[in-house]
Symmetry: C2
Subunit: 235 residues, 2 copies
């Protein structure tokens, strides 16, 4: 664990629309942990982030003591072990916890690869990063393919929420927060076809109405305005 100078409260280094940072912001709010969020840009990590994490990737969580925890799953499990006793986000017995982690993996790997990454890269990151050989303008074919995949993921959410109170079982868990973190990033950009997926929309309205969700509703990215319904609880 890398140590940096001490702070008055824990810090979370994150990029506004990064789904992993978004899930942790939701989780910290659910646990009732006040945190100072430090904005990072994945295309230009700060010197302090690079000191904390050799990959330069956020999210990184730094405790008051200056101790840093790096990588989404490590932070998520660390918080559950240290502050999750009263309101666990990986609740239940070992099998129930495995179901939470299966779904977190589903959203963090499958949904991310098929939906979040292409849409974020093409609609946001390509504005700020011009690779050699790329025009800098979004590849709309990738965005359309990702929107198509999003439809089947919303169907999966509908199916899960028809048979369970929350995505992984009877209780709110990291599975709901992971799904909502990815979807809210896409929703910021206005790419979620809610009208075609009313059951998934009902689930999302319930998560979005939680007090913890307020930490995401004020998000803004310079030059990339939020969709008109992004912060609307009755969308």
């Amino acid at each position: 664990m890398t140590k940096v100078s001490q702070f008055n409260m824990p810090r979370l280094y994150h990029f506004t629309l990064d789904p992993y940072g978004r899930r942790l912001r939701l989780a910290l709010a659910e646990y009732g942990i006040d945190v100072q969020a430090v904005d990072e840009k994945p295309w230009a990590p700060s010197a302090q982030l690079l000191q904390l994490s050799p990959t330069g990737l956020s999210p990184v969580y730094v405790e008051d003591s200056g101790t840093a925890v790096v990588s989404p799953e490590a932070i998520s499990e660390y918080l559950e072990e240290t502050v999750g006793e009263r309101h666990p986000l990986i609740p239940g017995n070992a099998l129930a916890r495995a179901e939470v982690r299966r779904l977190v993996n589903w959203f963090d790997v499958k949904f991310y690869t098929e939906v979040t990454e292409p849409i974020l890269t093409e609609k946001v990151i390509s504005r700020f990063v011009t690779n050699r050989g790329s025009s800098g303008s979004p590849n709309m074919a990738r965005v359309r393919a990702a929107r198509q995949m999003l439809g089947s993921h919303l169907d999966y959410i509908s199916a899960l929420s028809e048979e369970r109170s929350f995505l992984a079982g009877n209780d709110l868990s990291n599975a709901d927060l992971a799904a909502a973190a990815h979807i809210s990033a896409i929703d910021y950009l206005g790419d979620v076809p809610w009208a075609e997926h009313p059951v998934a929309q009902m689930w999302y309205m319930r998560i979005k109405s939680r007090p913890s969700f307020k930490v995401l509703l004020g998000d803004t990215i310079p030059g990339v305005p939020a969709s008109s319904h992004y912060s609307n609880l009755d969308f």
Copy 2:
């Protein structure tokens, strides 16, 4: 959790060279759990695997009772919670456990993307899968770029093993098993430049000499012979 018919012993559905399946085979052997390994091919998942896991991705772990656990991290944490008490593979306090998980993520995401995936795809999977528009022959430029990245990962392993007994601390952990799982898949194909990385080689010899490692040393893939030193403990 999907249930299938009951077995006499737990089963692990896996693809021989898949690093996630390899880490779990090592972990099960370290925990002392006998398991029936069921071969899967990522390009042609069996009907039973598809029934257990909607993504068709291995590894999937199925208990004697027929209960299935899906996705690498979910299986890994499930085993630690249910059979890991005596010989934990995520040992220590919450911070030590976070360091194990940070390194597992390093190998399972960064090493996988930069090294394992390109080398496995180009040298093995491309032999069996012919995509439209691809010639079916390996893209050696991708393999060379991956071999170059492998060098810096071996330097990182050397740096860690010079300051600690094992990669994440004083004890064997999932960090060592994850690193060894990825490296052993590459080593099967003969792509590890051991002579240039003697400190990393010393660490790997120690892991490879563990009784648990025997489960990997007999691996064979039809049409893809193992490198001459793959199963040699004194390579």
